[in-house]
């Protein structure tokens, strides 16, 4: 058993986030090719994110960002190399365990259409906890925490019970942020979360996201094509520098 794995298991046993582990994410010698597509392949020799860091990953569309995120989240696995998240090599887990691992360790925010439009805001926020029993067990009252998160993310007080589909795009993104943050998963992955928002909303959203990520003690990995966001992050990584596509 590796020391990192020991830390992960101990931490999750006691319901502590992985904020103190050194590297929350590290990829080495990763090679991936989509099944049935001979042309597009992604190679990442080395990429890592330290715990508590706020990293912006910049890249044009088609640079393999989405593939990288899928690798990190474990919905696809690399043909070679290792993807280690919170001390666990994802490839070592079975498909079912990877899904559970994702639920426990990673909070996800997408560009848009993040929510189940027919479900209430509360159900949307609590959805990942349904698949992450440890994350759920940490929270004494998930409902109250969801309400608090909503308030801190600047959502109206009565928003919690409305249908998610009735909210504005900006509000929906905040609900998505609350859903990613609930139960304080060690890693928050955001895929262009602001690109559907206008400039003013973008700034507010990022402020709130940063504040809450820090409060939760989580690491933030954000993917974007918008270089203007760069100065707000601890570190900026160009997709082209870490990955090669062929």
């Amino acid at each position: 058993m590796t020391p990192q794995r020991l830390i992960y298991e101990t931490c999750s046993e006691y319901g502590i986030g992985m904020a103190h582990a050194e590297l929350i994410l590290s990829l080495s010698d990763v090679r991936y090719r989509w099944p049935g597509k001979a042309s597009f392949a992604l190679a990442i020799p080395n990429f890592s994110v330290a715990s508590g860091e706020r990293v912006l990953l910049l890249g044009e569309s088609g640079s393999g960002k989405s593939t990288l995120l899928s690798l990190i989240c474990g919905t696809i696995t690399a043909q070679s190399g290792s993807v280690v998240v919170a001390g666990i090599d994802i490839a070592s887990l079975s498909a079912g365990k990877r899904d559970r691992f994702r639920a426990e360790q990673i909070g996800l925010i997408f560009q848009q259409f993040n929510l189940l439009p027919y479900a209430s805001v509360l159900d949307n926020i609590l959805l990942p906890l349904r698949f992450a029993p440890r994350r759920n067990a940490m929270l004494s009252s998930p409902r109250d925490i969801a309400t608090t998160l909503c308030a801190e993310l600047g959502l109206p007080a009565d928003a919690i019970s409305v249908q998610a589909g009735t909210l504005s795009v900006g509000q929906q993104q905040r609900v998505a942020a609350a859903r990613a943050l609930i139960g304080a998963p060690p890693l928050i992955v955001a895929d262009e979360p602001t690109s559907a928002l206008d400039a003013a909303t973008q700034a507010t959203f990022l402020d709130l996201l940063f504040a809450q990520t820090r409060a939760a003690g989580s690491t933030l990995l954000m993917v974007s094509h918008d270089a203007r966001l760069a100065d707000r992050f601890d570190r900026v990584v160009q997709m082209a520098d870490i990955a090669s596509t062929a």
Binding site: T75, A95, A103, L116, D123, L126, P128
Partner: protein, 416 residues
């Protein structure tokens, strides 16, 4: 929570889901309705002759005897002579016997000659006796008691005159001997409703001037002369018999069937009914199969709806996957949705059935004499409803497995 989400998802697609549920509900209502009519018809038939142990007539088929003697369907090929009737009546096993003499008609209704025992012994629908709604049981030779449908159709009241026609669908009437309506029976839902009942002697009385099936020309015996005559019948069409002990039924049946003087047939009404069901069983099964196919069609319709919704729901599935749901959660979500739709459809179908029964019950009773009971769902019906839900879940496995594959390939990124 998954169940709540499945429900919310259905609610969000209320129109298509509603249509699907409606189709299932109608098919379930149809299926259960056919079942109800089927069992109701059987019960109605069986109810027509409750309390009778044997039916005796001239030798023919047992179903034929049952049909003409009790249900007034078809005609007797031969009669039972009065001597035989008397001999059977005098047997020690016989508790009661009542004669039935058919052959004449009034308008579209059959005229039946019988004894007053008929009003005491005839039982229908779990032992109920005939009751006179208006007037009284016949008292005079030329009195008649008519069934409820006869009175309603021909608008007869107590005291109205009736002229009986000779034979069925004949133009020759017994106009010399008109009858008087002395009583009208309460509705029973049996062929009695469509029967004009007279005494056995009256049947003889109107045929006094008749010789071998035709009226003797120029002869017309006055009514008061007829009243003086001993009107002993020479034959009756059939007889209903009750025995003192049920154990004696088979012995009596055998004795009558082996009666040396005349070829006779005695049948157990229940056994003859079973034979009748065997004959109509094929039609019954066909009817049931057709309504079963309608249920299957509705379920396939549901499957098609789920299939067509899969593409637009890929985003939703990707969200579930991103949140850590295994592909099998997607599968079970779709199966749960289908089972919910089928369950709601089944319950709505059941409700439709009862609403339909509530309105149709008096109409069906009036039109066909068929009493459809409004009972709580039987175990069999509960099985049917449960079967629909299970079949819905099974059918939905096909699109659900496709969704499983799609979400496995899509992961959390939808590439359309």
């Amino acid at each position: 929570m998954i169940l709540r989400l499945a429900f919310a998802s259905l609610l969000a697609r209320a129109l298509t889901v509603g249509m699907t549920i409606l189709a299932i509900a109608l098919s379930v209502a149809l299926f259960l309705g056919v079942e109800k009519v089927r069992t109701g018809a059987k019960a109605s038939f069986a109810d027509t002759i409750s309390g009778t142990d044997l039916i005796v007539g001239a030798r023919s088929g047992s179903v034929q005897l049952l049909l003409y003697s009790v249900f007034r369907i078809g005609n007797a090929t031969n009669n039972l002579t009065w001597e035989s009737y008397r001999e059977i009546a005098d047997r020690p096993e016989v508790d009661w016997i009542m004669p039935i003499s058919l052959g004449d008609s009034h308008r579209q209704f059959r005229v039946m000659g019988t004894s007053t025992a008929f009003f005491e012994r005839y039982k229908y629908r779990a032992g109920r006796s005939l009751t006179v709604d208006q007037g009284a049981i016949m008292d005079d030779l030329f009195d008649t008691v008519i069934g409820a449908d006869v009175a309603a159709t021909l608008n007869y009241k107590v005291g109205d005159p009736i002229v009986v026609a000779h034979g069925l669908a004949s133009f020759v009437e017994h106009e010399d001997q008109p009858f008087r309506v002395s009583g009208i029976l309460e509705k029973t839902g049996t062929p009695v409703d469509r029967t004009v009942i007279v005494s056995l002697q009256a049947i003889e009385a109107i045929h006094v001037d008749w010789r071998s099936g035709a009226k003797a020309p120029g002869q017309s015996t006055p009514a008061d002369v007829i009243r003086e005559m001993t009107l002993e019948p020479t034959a009756v069409t059939a007889a209903l018999v009750g025995v003192k002990s049920r154990l004696q039924v088979f012995g009596l049946q055998r004795a009558i069937n082996e009666y040396p003087q005349e070829p006779l047939l005695a049948i157990l009404p229940g056994v003859a009914l079973q034979e009748l069901w065997q004959i109509v069983g094929i039609a019954e099964t066909a009817l049931l199969a057709v309504s079963g196919m309608v249920v299957v069609t509705a379920l396939i319709g549901m499957m098609a709806t789920i299939f067509s919704s899969l593409n637009e729901r890929r985003r939703e599935m990707a969200i579930f996957r991103a949140m850590g749901a295994r592909p099998r959660v997607i599968l079970s979500l779709l199966v749960i949705e289908a089972a919910l739709m089928a369950a709601i459809g089944a319950i709505v179908g059941l409700a439709l059935l009862y609403i339909g029964l509530f309105f149709a019950q008096p109409l069906v009773d009036a039109a066909f004499g068929l009493w459809l009971p409004i009972d709580p769902p039987s175990l069999r019906e509960a099985w049917v409803l449960g079967g629909v839900v299970i079949a819905g879940a099974i059918v939905s496995m096909v699109p659900a497995i496709r969704a499983y594959r799609m979400s496995l390939a899509d992961g959390m990124m939808v590439r359309i």
